[in-house]
């Protein structure tokens, strides 16, 4: 009957391990190179009890409540079992012991050491020691004879010796092993064993791939156990408690059991991963073999050579009831009516007896169980240096803080063996941004954009050095650190220091207010007993300290106590900038390596408010916060241990946007960048490159490097992706202008304009790219992001590259934008004082960017001579405003009337859009016609006329103000043309639109000067009339459109011409007629 191999599970860190059962066989006891002894209540135990015995444990033996271990400080120690309290040192060697073992009665311990010696010690009286000298190399293993008469030992010198314990002499010596210089070089651990409870006692010695058997007393070789399938060197042999079976484990992970009478190999198993088996132990009642390997894993062979099936089944049923009981306990704990779980439990416990389902159940349990310690290990090992162990110590504050109790009650619950859900993450400890771990002797207490605070804590010196980047702020300071300050912050006004309290001394906050103008440059505050400072920060005119009582205490920079507030969870870190205070704290328990952090942002200025109300702080999976602070411009940033830099995006509802992945810039996996500061303008991520560590040493003095930001957008290898990234980065990094101006700071408007200009340039480039790729919809979307003046460029670009449909759509867009603009302008006028977040307004405000469009590089593509305003097409005349700007409140009527018609006209345009592509020859004309193509027919005609008229009659004194584009006045010629159009058409029905105008032009010139003058007069009068009409009633849409145009013309005229009053008068006269 084959035995059942349970899946192995992780028990210790890599390295040599040892295993044994307790006397009753209830627990498996293992030790490993991590220096822990673990007590497993069965293989499924997810929370083995750990007893730390030293730095490394080489061997463990357990009998009658005494746990004997051989550890790396060259001692053999006793601990009580199961409590694990140290119970003294049994013996010492000059180097470490390799193997310890009890005799069968448990009264003596034998230990073999690398100093060639074997010692036998009485457990009760460790002064009675017998040293067995004779080996010429490190002793590999020792074994007591069942009757306590002899002791066998194997050694690296190649010999196996049997000693008489009475006179401490060798009674037999077989040189059967391979020689080696050290245990680490030995091919086999050669764990030998005596056969128990048997008339004829045999010693089994693993030799190469075989097991040699020697008879007790005669010391003759009586047999060899070997198997063709066992090709690896045998490491361990152990006898079953009944003495009938011999189990062995090999270097290659083979596990075999022999029936000694039949000399037959009755079991053959292979280690799941083929690791070297370095220890084995039989269950005291037989039936199970526990084994461990050199990778720290623990395995179990169940139902091995069951001597009587009854006992084993009893065994397993006992186990199963225990397991099911536990799982039920666990369910009760949560007190949920989760029927499903109960049913599952019952199924499991019922189906436990069939071996197969038991295995499956085991599997289920083991999956998370094995993964958990590994995760935790990874979490801690991940850190090349001890930052993590320092800052993320397992239950740092759970132990100390009252708050932790909630968590700590949850912890035992979830570590029940049956629990396979997510595991809680040890909460991250509080830290100061820009500081290196506190356990270092020389460390940075803070490195920020103001300066550096270093702390020396060695034998000669306990001091703090304060150094300023800018020596103009203050000269460097050297302080003796008598109070043992652990925390520091530095601003342009003060140095803030804090120490934790001890039993006698209260936690203190010390402030060196060097910018004070009086003579007292220092103040200190004692916190109430039992309250420790966890994090501190400085702002402008205030200081803050977060304490273990979950308070945030605010002080004025001079030392007055100010506001006091409670935090919802233990603080992690704080940062201050100007009037802003940013606090990160634990929001709850994170699971599976994640931290659950919350963040608050407070404004402490005159108008105090909370900008972020304790929202979750996003971090990468399985990471923790490593830096948090403000950019020089005052935007909150945070950096997690995965190197993701996040920035608070105030324009997107205070969300956090990832702006950089520092790890991408690292050359190797173990390199890191240590962030010291962030600037948004210019975009700089200032950090210190650290080779092979997370933080820099204080000496040699590290130099700051600058990393660029890069949004993690897709396709950044393509041109499009790059430009998108640049654009959005620029947009995000421009947010601070809005924030600063809204909170009353000065803003470098020139830089802001530069940035906006760069953004628009990028948009235009993207537009051009999309045009080239024939992605017109893209173009449209891009144009929506552009400012009005750039849209005009886009329209030109589109029309020149013959994207007519696009150009037309863009026209509509331009119109819309214009009307929006108008609306906003009005709003602005209405509530001038409300200047909040004026960035968006400014960016589209034509007044602020007068004459900018001509500088655009893309403009070069457009011919300079063309004065044509693409907006003419719209017919709405809004765009006719000269870029130089028009006095804002020229006429109340203007703003009131002109908006709505334009909207109507734009709607109408979309309805009646007609595309009339023309040959791109004669430039000026083409331009005109091209641009009017989308206008409704009637209006279009007028446009054209208007256009041509302008080109030809431009030098008329009335429009001489020209040179500036878009002087568009309904002229006499136009009126004339309207009336005479039909006659022209009748004469020459075959004419094209442009030709009609030419023709008309010719005829108009033939008119007498008087006639022409009267037409112009009429034209002027008409515009006046329109204004008048407006006052009274609405005309139909078509008419309105004309009106608007005329009205604006009139406005222009008013502005430019000194005779506009007379024009107005004449208009009245006309209307009366």
């Amino acid at each position: 009957m084959p035995c059942e191999r349970k899946p192995i599970r992780y028990g210790h860190s890599e390295g040599h391990t040892d295993v044994c059962f307790d006397d009753e066989g209830r627990c498996i006891v293992t030790c490993g190179s991590d220096g822990d002894v673990r007590v497993w209540e069965g293989l499924d135990d997810d929370d083995p009890k750990s007893i730390n015995v030293g730095e490394k444990a080489y061997a463990v033996a357990l009998k009658s409540g005494k746990l004997v271990t051989a550890v790396s400080n060259n001692t053999v120690q006793i601990h009580t079992f199961p409590d694990g309290d140290p119970d003294g040192i049994l013996t010492r060697f000059t180097t470490n012991a390799n193997h310890v073992t009890f005799n069968f009665a448990g009264t003596r311990v034998a230990a073999g050491s690398s100093d060639f010696m074997v010692k036998v010690i009485e457990v009760m009286d460790s002064s009675q020691q017998k040293a067995l000298r004779g080996h010429a190399a490190p002793v590999l293993s020792v074994a007591f004879d069942p009757t306590d008469e002899f002791l066998a030992s194997s050694s690296c010198d190649g010999s196996v010796a049997v000693w008489s314990l009475e006179n401490q002499t060798q009674v037999a010596n077989w040189a059967v092993l391979q020689k080696s210089s050290d245990v680490s070089n030995a091919k086999s651990l050669c764990r030998l064993a005596w056969q128990p409870h048997s008339g004829q006692v045999l010693i089994s010695v693993p030799v190469d791939t075989t097991i040699q058997l020697y008879e007790r007393g005669s010391w003759t070789h009586v047999g060899t156990l070997s198997d063709d399938l066992l090709t690896q060197v045998v490491n361990v042999v152990v006898w079953s408690p009944c003495g009938k079976f011999l189990a062995m484990g090999s270097v290659g992970g083979d596990l075999a059991v022999w029936d000694i009478e039949a000399k037959l190999c009755i079991e053959r198993q292979k280690h799941e991963r083929g690791y070297t088996v370095c220890a084995m132990a039989w269950h005291p009642s037989g039936g199970q073999i526990a084994y461990t390997d050199t990778e720290g894993c623990l395995g179990l062979l169940d139902e091995v050579c069951v001597p009587s099936s009854a006992s084993s089944s009893m065994q397993s049923s006992k186990l199963s009831t225990a397991a099911s009981k536990e799982s039920k306990d666990y369910d009760d704990l949560f007190d949920e009516d989760d029927g499903g779980v109960h049913v599952l439990d019952e199924c499991v416990s019922d189906s436990r007896s069939p071996a197969k389902s038991a295995v499956m159940e085991d599997d289920d349990d083991l999956m998370p169980a094995t993964s958990r310690p590994r995760n935790r290990g990874a979490f801690l090992d991940d850190d090349e240096n001890s930052q993590d162990t320092a800052s993320v110590k397992a239950d740092g504050f759970v132990e100390e803080d009252g708050v932790g109790t909630v968590l700590s009650t949850a912890v035992p619950a979830v570590t029940r063996p049956a629990y396979d859900g997510p595991m809680p993450t040890p909460p991250q400890k509080a830290f100061q941004p820009g500081s290196t771990p506190g356990h270092l002797m020389h460390r940075f207490m803070v490195w920020n954009s103001v300066g550096i605070v270093r702390c020396y804590n060695d034998d000669q010196d306990n001091a703090i050095d304060v150094e300023f980047h800018n020596s103009a702020v203050h000269h460097a300071m050297h302080l003796t650190n008598t109070l043992e300050h652990r925390l520091a912050d530095l601003s342009h006004e003060a140095v803030l220091l804090a120490c934790e309290g001890t039993d006698e001394v209260a936690s203190k906050l010390q402030c060196l207010h060097f910018s004070s103008w009086d003579t007292k440059k220092e103040w200190m505050v004692d916190l109430p007993k039992g309250e420790d400072i966890r994090a501190i920060c400085l702002g402008q005119g205030w200081a803050a300290a977060a304490t273990s009582s979950l308070f945030v205490r605010l002080f004025s920079i001079g030392g007055l106590q100010r506001e006091l507030l409670s935090l919802p969870g233990p603080v992690i870190c704080m940062a201050g900038h100007g009037e802003q205070l940013l606090i990160a704290y634990h929001r709850g328990t994170g699971f599976d390596g994640d931290q659950a952090l919350g963040v608050q942002l407070l404004q402490l200025g005159r108008k105090k408010r909370q900008a972020i109300h304790g929202e979750p702080l996003p971090l990468s999976r399985k990471s923790y916060l490593v830096w948090m602070g403000f950019s020089a411009e005052g935007t909150p940033f945070c950096v997690d241990s995965e190197g993701i830099v996040r920035m608070l995006n105030r324009s997107l509802g205070n969300t956090w946007t990832p702006v950089c992945n520092i790890r991408e810039s690292c050359k190797s996996r173990s390199d890191h960048y240590w962030v010291v500061g962030i600037h948004e303008n210019p975009q700089q991520l200032r950090c210190i490159p650290c080779k092979g560590s997370r933080f820099p040493p204080t000496l040699p003095r590290p130099a700051v490097a600058i990393l660029p930001f890069k949004l993690p957008l897709c396709h950044t290898s393509t041109e499009k992706g790059q430009m998108e990234e640049q654009y959005w980065r620029s947009v995000i990094f421009q947010n601070h202008f809005g924030f600063l101006s809204s909170s009353g700071y000065e803003v470098d408007e020139e830089k802001q304009k530069q940035m906006e200009k760069a953004q628009q340039e990028l948009l235009m480039k993207m537009f051009a790219l999309s045009c080239k790729l024939e992605r017109e919809f893209h173009c449209m979307e891009l144009a929506e992001m552009m400012t009005q003046s750039v849209v005009t460029l886009a329209i030109r670009y589109a029309s020149r590259s013959r994207h007519m449909l696009l150009a037309q759509k863009l026209n509509e867009l331009a119109l819309e934008k214009a009307s929006h603009l108008q609306e906003e302008e009005e709003n602005e006028e209405e509530q001038e004082e409300e200047a909040a977040y004026c960035r968006t307004v400014q960016s589209v405000n034509p007044f602020s960017k007068g004459g900018r469009s001509p500088e655009r590089p893309s403009l070069k593509a457009v011919s300079k001579e063309s004065r044509v305003n693409p907006f003419k097409v719209s017919g709405a005349g809004r765009s006719t405003r000269s870029p130089a700007g028009q006095p804002r409140v020229a006429n109340v009527l203007d703003t009131m009337t002109s908006r709505r018609p334009s909207l109507c006209s734009s709607i109408k345009q979309s309805k009646t859009a007609v595309l009339k592509p023309l040959a791109p020859k004669a430039r000026s004309k083409t331009q005109a016609t091209l641009l009017q193509m989308s206008a409704p027919k009637g209006a279009g005609k007028k446009q054209v006329e208007n256009e041509v008229e302008k080109q030809t009659v431009q030098k008329l004194p009335a429009t001489a103000g020209g040179g500036v584009e878009s002087v568009r006045q309904k002229t006499g010629f136009q009126l004339w043309l309207e009336q005479n159009r039909k006659s022209i058409l009748a004469d020459r029905p075959d004419l094209e639109e442009t030709e009609i105008i030419k023709e008309a032009m010719g005829r108009f010139r033939t008119l007498s000067a008087d006639e022409r003058l009267s037409w112009t007069e009429r034209a002027k009068g008409m515009s006046g009339e329109v204004v008048d009409l407006k006052k009274r009633k609405r005309v139909d849409e078509e008419k309105k459109e004309v009106d608007v145009q005329l009205e604006t013309n009139a406005n222009d005229a008013k502005k430019r011409k000194p005779l506009d009053t007379s024009a107005k008068l004449s208009a009245f006269a006309f209307s009366k007629n």
Partner: protein
């Protein structure tokens, strides 16, 4: 050419400094410098770096090659090979001298570096003398020397050229027939 002139030329090399003051870009004929942000490394010419250092306005970040380990490697390389091996900077001697004289406190293991650079210099000058000797001895018309720095050339030029001139005169006198010309 005077060695001080060579040193003057070397002062045009750039070096990183960490200023402790704040200053906008400065526009000079030789190019724009800055902006200077306290605590942020910035590239400046050596002459400015030294000037700032003397006024305690900055810390100098030693050039990458000015590192004892790297120089040791270079020294070994130089000793191993017969020909001149490439040097880390074409003004290594001048820069070492300037920086070590004025900013030794900013350079870790300054004394070692001084010795190493002197060793390298000595090795190279010895090689140069040797090759000059061979050149003269074999009465060659031309020779090729790679990887020499300006300072090294400068040390040997005056003497070598003068002596070659004198020898030429002497040899010209030795040749029969021509002696009558004088």
């Amino acid at each position: 050419m005077d060695p001080s002139e060579v040193e003057f030329l070397a002062e045009k090399e750039t070096v990183k400094v960490i200023p402790n003051f704040s200053l906008d870009k400065i526009y000079l004929i030789g190019g724009d410098l800055g902006p200077f942000n306290p605590g942020l490394p910035v590239d400046v010419p050596v002459w400015l770096a030294l000037n700032l250092k003397q006024r305690q306005k900055c810390r100098i970040v030693p050039p990458e090659w000015m590192d004892a380990d790297k120089l040791e490697e270079i020294r070994e390389q130089e000793r191993k090979e017969d020909a001149f091996s490439p040097v880390p900077s074409c003004h290594y001697m001048e820069l070492t001298k300037l920086l070590l004289n004025h900013a030794a406190d900013d350079i870790p293991r300054a004394d070692e570096i001084r010795t190493l650079v002197k060793d390298i210099w000595d090795t190279r000058i010895a090689k140069l003398r040797l090759s000059a000797d061979r050149f003269v001895g074999q009465q060659e018309a031309h020779a090729r020397l790679d990887n020499l720095t300006l300072m090294e050339i400068n040390t040997t030029r005056d003497f070598l050229l003068d002596s070659l001139n004198s020898m030429h005169k002497l040899r010209a006198n030795l040749q029969p027939g021509k002696s009558q010309d004088y």
